[in-house]
């Protein structure tokens, strides 16, 4: 990669990106899912990742999260080259993904879900419920999630917004640095969407680097600082939310960079 489009737009901070992907390519058989893609997110910002279906958003996220190995390119964490060979490596670095289908167990309660797979236990393998319950309450309180009446109720009994809050809470509880949210508001009503978007902004305020994947430009323009557009597996560009419009982004998603298209004049 010779020129990095990421540098062509003003970044909110001058620091090195917390997470950076450089020239990432990935193909599945004869299908090129990602071609020479660059991506970055910095501490304290919400970076939106948008693109039409099949643009490569999910593939890029899965490459970063260690689910798919990348064919070419590299991933940098705090400016250092990171070797991510599996989901555990990503988690170790502090990268957490909240998947669209949430990956919560309906038959377990909130505390049990928050600690699933990372339970606190004593030397004979016994679960230490009290500290887990206390810390779950603290984490949710820190995120100002106040609608869950009892953290000992089964997740099955929670509303969509509450479930999303639990999933996000679980992602941020582990000293994570980067939180990737895949379509967090896709299945939610208006009030619950608002609740989750507030939570997303709060994560950035608390010093996390947040990646928000969404189809909903209204949501993105409400919380994102910058917007990375992918189209057909390639970078289109990165927009600063304050200096762009929804129309521009829609155009970039569907047709690519405006300047490359004949007949479109800049404002």
């Amino acid at each position: 990669m010779t020129s990095a489009p990421a540098e062509s737009t003003p970044s909110p901070t001058a620091t090195t990106p917390t997470l950076e992907a450089r020239g990432v390519s990935k193909s599945f058989g004869s299908v090129d899912a990602l071609i020479d893609v660059d991506f970055e997110v910095r501490t304290g910002e919400v970076m939106a990742l948008v693109g039409d279906n099949g643009a490569g958003k999910s593939t890029l996220i899965k490459c970063i999260a260690g689910i798919h190995p990348i064919d070419e390119g590299e991933v940098l964490f705090d400016g250092q080259k990171a070797s991510i060979h599996g989901p555990k490596d990503a988690v170790k670095l502090g990268i957490e993904v909240v998947y669209q289908d949430l990956a919560l167990c309906d038959n377990l309660d909130v505390v049990q879900n928050m600690y699933l797979g990372r339970e606190i236990r004593d030397f004979i393998g016994r679960l230490k419920e009290a500290p887990m319950e206390a810390r779950t309450a603290d984490t949710l309180k820190g995120l100002r999630v106040t609608t869950i009446s009892s953290i000992r109720q089964q997740v099955a009994s929670l509303s969509g917004g509450q479930r999303q809050s639990v999933a996000i809470g679980r992602a941020v509880m582990w000293n994570s640095r980067v939180v990737i949210l895949d379509e967090p508001t896709a299945a939610l009503g208006v009030a619950q969407t608002e609740q989750v978007l507030q939570l997303v902004s709060r994560l950035a305020e608390q010093g996390l680097a947040v990646v928000l994947i969404s189809h909903n430009l209204h949501d993105i323009f409400e919380v994102a600082d910058r917007i990375t557009v992918l189209r057909l597996g390639r970078n289109v560009t990165i927009y600063d939310r304050r200096t762009t419009s929804q129309e521009t982004v829609v155009h970039a998603i569907t047709a690519g960079v405006p300047t490359k298209v004949a007949g479109i004049t800049s404002e």
């Binding site: 989901p87 049990q112 699933l116 679960l127 206390a134 009503g189 619950q192």
Partner: protein, 408 residues
């Protein structure tokens, strides 16, 4: 529950007795019936048979019932784990027969492979645990549905039993250690001492829970309710020992059942392993993403199933002082699975408790025992047990639907 989307700060639920009773009643209305139907069912069953024959509640019949149900309950504990995972194990009955054959073979006096009774039991249950692990490996690593793998196991191990016992038709067990498993009864004094020890352990575990929650500044459970639980527990355990002491005494077989129940309940509810079993049964994909080794859990659960089937088989063999061609046959498989299901463990995975093995086995055994006592035929026994199983599964399906509707 708070309204969706509103950011009202919901007050933490109160833990006064009134509030707990109210919540329990609300849950009941929503379809979360818990153990209530079984307790009601048991009371009805006992009342019915007692009205027909007053010997039903005699101490002799009580100790008899305890030894009768020990084997099935033990096997059903393994079934609970398999069902929690959302799988099934159809091989348990004949695998239990394999354990019976192994102990019987290993105690044949003056044979070159004769070992001490305890060693024979240890070898037998190790073998059945490995059989379970082998079958579980086919489920986990080859991806064959457990129904098919264990159906193959059912046929295979039945064949092995017929092959090994062969023309002899029966192996007599003379080793006293093995036979004592199902035929030893504690003296009155030892029985009371054990009841006291159990009560002390129960109190200690309650107390440590309360202390730990206090230390972390979380609201403790209602103390009056905890004390009430302790009192009821003490009453039941001393009552049972006193009742048994009027006759032969408290049976060793049932002490083993209680030890199994306590240990496996602890594993299911207090360890990370148990939590992961529930997680895999509830949402295997979520469990996998949370970093849980789903395949390992599957193999381990089938090992537990094999292990408990093995212990159950030893209890059966000891009770008959022999193993014959019928080892693991008859209605044992269906009784063990029915016990877990009637006790409230869902066939769909993720819901149920180890204690349901005991509750279900109690229902099945009290019915079977009563029908035998009244001299009715096996035909009646099968029909009644079948209807109870259908009722239990219907209740499970209906309560699941109501729970789904209530959004719980």
């Amino acid at each position: 529950m708070s309204t969706d989307g509103a950011t009202v700060d919901a007050a933490p639920p109160s833990n006064s007795l009134g509030a707990i009773a109210r919540r329990r009643f609300e849950a009941l209305k929503a379809g979360d019936v818990g153990t209530l139907p079984i307790i009601v069912g048991l009371v009805l069953i006992v009342a019915f048979f007692y009205s027909k024959n007053s010997n039903y509640l005699s101490a002799g019949n009580f100790t008899n019932l305890m030894t009768q149900m020990a084997g099935v309950t033990t096997i059903a504990i393994g079934v609970v784990f398999v069902l929690l995972l959302g799988e099934i194990d159809l091989s348990i009955a004949y695998v239990s027969g394999i354990a019976g054959i192994v102990v019987a073979e290993l105690q044949i006096p003056d044979s070159s492979w004769e070992v001490k009774g305890v060693v024979a039991i240890g070898i037998a249950v190790t073998i059945t645990a490995l059989i379970g692990g082998l079958q579980g490996s086919f489920v986990a690593f080859v991806g064959i549905p457990s129904f098919v793998v264990t159906l193959a196991g059912l046929l295979f191990w039945q064949g092995v039993i017929l092959y090994v016992i062969g023309d002899a038709g029966v192996i007599i067990i003379e080793d006293t250690t093995i036979n004592n498993v199902a035929n030893y009864f504690f003296t009155d004094k030892v029985g009371y001492l054990m009841a006291a020890a159990a009560t002390a352990l129960f109190a200690l575990s309650t107390l440590s829970g309360v202390v730990s929650r206090r230390r972390h500044g979380i609201r403790t459970d209602n103390l009056i309710l905890e004390v009430a639980k302790l009192v009821v527990f003490t009453a039941i355990i001393f009552g049972a020992v006193r009742w048994a002491n009027q006759e032969r005494g408290f049976p060793l077989a049932f002490l083993l059942v209680i030890i199994f129940l306590v240990f496996w309940s602890w594993v299911a509810e207090r360890t990370a392993f148990g939590r992961h079993v529930y997680a895999v049964g509830g949402n295997a994909e979520a469990a996998r993403r949370a970093g849980i080794n789903v395949k390992r859990i599957q193999v381990q659960v089938f090992m537990i199933s094999g292990l408990m089937a093995g212990f159950g088989g030893v209890i059966f063999a000891a009770r008959l002082n022999s193993v014959d061609l019928n080892a693991g046959g008859g209605t044992l498989l269906l009784d063990a699975i029915s016990a877990a299901v009637i006790g409230g463990t869902s066939l769909f995975g993720g819901r149920g408790r180890v204690i349901s093995a005991l509750m279900g086995a109690l229902v099945i055994s009290t019915v079977a025992n009563g029908i035998d006592l009244l001299g009715y035929s096996s035909a009646i026994k099968y029909m009644v047990t079948g209807l109870i199983l259908l009722a239990a599964v219907t209740l499970d399906a209906v309560s699941r639907r109501r729970l789904a509707q209530a959004g719980r």
